[in-house]
């Protein structure tokens, strides 16, 4: 229907409309996805981020076609694919376990999809060679999949899923089995592959750092719902939900009273009686007691002074090399963490037990929904 109005480029690669997935029935049933709506643009590196059991893998499996939605609908470039079997969708998956066929060589694995599509042998050979080159595995062409390392298996799994040139590539926590060094390498590699192939990547992970560094946009999920969708910067700087702020990076939470609001900005009154300006999340009006968040690196320690927004006692100083974390017990109760970069030569400005004041950067305070 949307296709009639033209502009194919503006059409999302994947659109989910109110997708609900319930496993089982009766009292033992589990709602894995609860009315999830999401648009994934073409040629985008999109990440589904959330703790285990949040429904991210279920959504991926619905897009792949291994499961079908209980209600709602999934479109691929404007056409409904909700109930198509996996082998009829131009979508391929890189599995967490790689799921390479143990009875086939590296080349046979990569060529499998094309072979099943009935492509001529010469074309399969050409594509397999190109894919081996793309993932830098030319030398492993005729190896058995048992003879190659985990990182190499990962590359073969990628090549196998990319070979049929899918419209969307799904990646189900593909880096979780790799050690840290290899994982960093593969993160860069995946970005390169996405850039070179121009294929839409949908990446599932529970690793927030991975999600922030790799994604064009990401969706934070919890308990079967999508809480917030946005660029890594938006998600990090402007979390709209308490869960999002808590899950991604470190955050200070403060209870505050809403004094005035308008145009997305607000004035809050903190427990100390001091007032501070803050950004409001989009959506319906917020009133009364709210939760405000401040990232530790958006605050700084000072000597206590009358203008200090927060005051307290320095409880703990943790040195991290590039920066130092200061844990402050606030006079009004609760703790607040401040992270400051270590400038060369500057040492011991503050020591444990000092009375300190805390300054918060302008525009660093964000109101979140619970």
């Amino acid at each position: 229907m949307g296709g009639l109005h033209g502009n194919l480029d503006a059409m999302p690669a994947i659109s989910a409309y109110q997708v609900t997935k319930i496993f089982g029935s009766g009292p033992g049933s589990v709602t894995a996805l609860d009315s999830v709506s999401i648009d994934i643009q073409r040629n985008e590196f999109f990440t589904l981020l959330g703790p285990s059991g949040c429904g991210k893998t279920t959504l991926l499996r619905l897009i792949a076609g291994f499961d079908h939605p209980t209600s709602g609908r999934i479109d691929l470039e404007g056409s409904d694919i909700s109930y198509l079997p996996p082998f009829k969708r131009p979508v391929n998956t890189v599995f967490q376990s790689y799921a390479l066929f143990p009875h086939m060589s590296v080349a046979e694995n990569i060529g499998f999809g094309l072979k099943m599509q009935g492509k001529p042998v010469a074309e399969i050979d050409t594509v397999v060679d190109a894919m081996l080159k793309l993932v830098k595995m030319e030398a492993m062409r005729d190896r058995s999949t048992a003879q190659i390392s985990g990182g190499q298996q990962q590359r073969v799994a990628l090549a196998r899923a990319l070979a049929p040139k899918p419209k969307v590539l799904l990646l189900d926590e593909p880096l979780s089995a790799l050690d840290l060094k290899l994982r960093k390498e593969m993160q860069i590699e995946l970005k390169r592959l996405q850039h070179e192939t121009g294929i839409t990547f949908v990446f599932v992970t529970h690793d927030q750092e991975e999600a922030l560094t790799m994604s064009d946009r990401l969706a934070v999920m919890s308990a079967g719902k999508v809480l917030q969708v946005g660029s890594p910067r938006e998600i990090y700087d402007r979390p709209s939900r308490r869960f999002v702020a808590d899950f991604i990076g470190e955050t200070n939470f403060m209870d505050a009273e809403l004094v005035s609001a308008g145009g997305g900005d607000a004035v809050l009154k903190l427990a100390s009686g001091k007032q501070i300006s803050a950004s409001l999340p989009e959506g319906e009006d917020i009133t009364g007691t709210v939760t405000a968040v401040v990232r530790p690196e958006h605050a700084s320690l000072t000597k206590p002074k009358p203008a200090s927004i927060l005051t307290g006692t320095l409880e703990n100083v943790v040195y991290f090399g590039t920066d130092t974390h200061y844990h402050v017990a606030l006079d009004t109760g609760g703790t607040f963490t401040v992270r400051m970069q270590n400038a060369r030569g500057r040492t011991g400005d503050f020591t444990q037990g000092d009375k300190v004041g805390i300054d918060i950067d302008d525009g660093a305070t964000q109101v979140v929904r619970d």
Partner: protein
Amino acid sequence: MSDAPATGTQSITSGAQAGVAARRNDVRNRWLLASPALTIIVFAALGPLLIMLVYSFLQKGLYGGVIWKFSTQGWFDVFFHKDIFDDTVGFADAHLSIFWRSIRLSFATTILTLLIGFPTAYFIATKSEKWRPVFLFLVTIPFWTNLLIRTFAIMELIKNEGVVNSVLQWAGLITSPIQIMFTDFAIMLGMAYVYLPLMVLPLYASMERLDFRLVEAGYDLYATRWQVLRKIIIPLVKPGMIAGSILVFVPSLGAYVTPRILGGGKNLMLGNLIELQFGQGRNWPLGAALSITLLVIVMVALLFYVRNASRSGVKSHG
């Protein structure tokens, strides 16, 4: 070593002596430990086999048993037949046709159990862990009943006045009963029923180990259900298929009770032929020679299977 060659040599010599003693001890212990297994192999497997081999080269006794004189008559009788009137020698068609029937029926039984057992094992392997033992238990229930009783049960089903014919007649599909009893088909049916668990269990064992994510990966890469079966599932569960086929084929070849009851008197298989020689036939050397022939057929079949299995094994492991 270079600055004290003399002591070095000495210590090597004494070390070698100690080594020899230790090795002798080792060898003795090894034989001791192996003795229970060796006893069983010698007395229960090799011994009887040797007796059979010796008997097959002796003369037959008039009322059964053997006369301790060397003779190749037993082996001659396996393959050839001398006319009692004009002494012309021809192939023992009766024996050869029984060999052929045994191989043919065993092969057909193996295929039939494979066709039924494969989906059964797949069904069980894809059930939840809670239900698998229940279905496996159901599969093994026939083992709890005596073979003879199970075979008579099959007879009740397929005889002319049996359940199958009655139902078909009642439904008006046939007017007179179909003769199933005392045919090769009845023997195959009976053997397939009896040996089906032997096919299902090894098949299940290899399907349970099958990583079903590979099946999903196949679907994901545009393979239809049929292609996934042929290109992914069958190659990966092949060891189970081969093991099941051996377990069904080998006992089918020597089956005795089932062909005796369901095949009647005329559709003999190898087992019945052998029994006949030791019983009414009173030709023990021939019976012994036939037994060894059966053994050779089984071994040839096994070699064929094993070669097949190791080939697929090489491919899957490396």
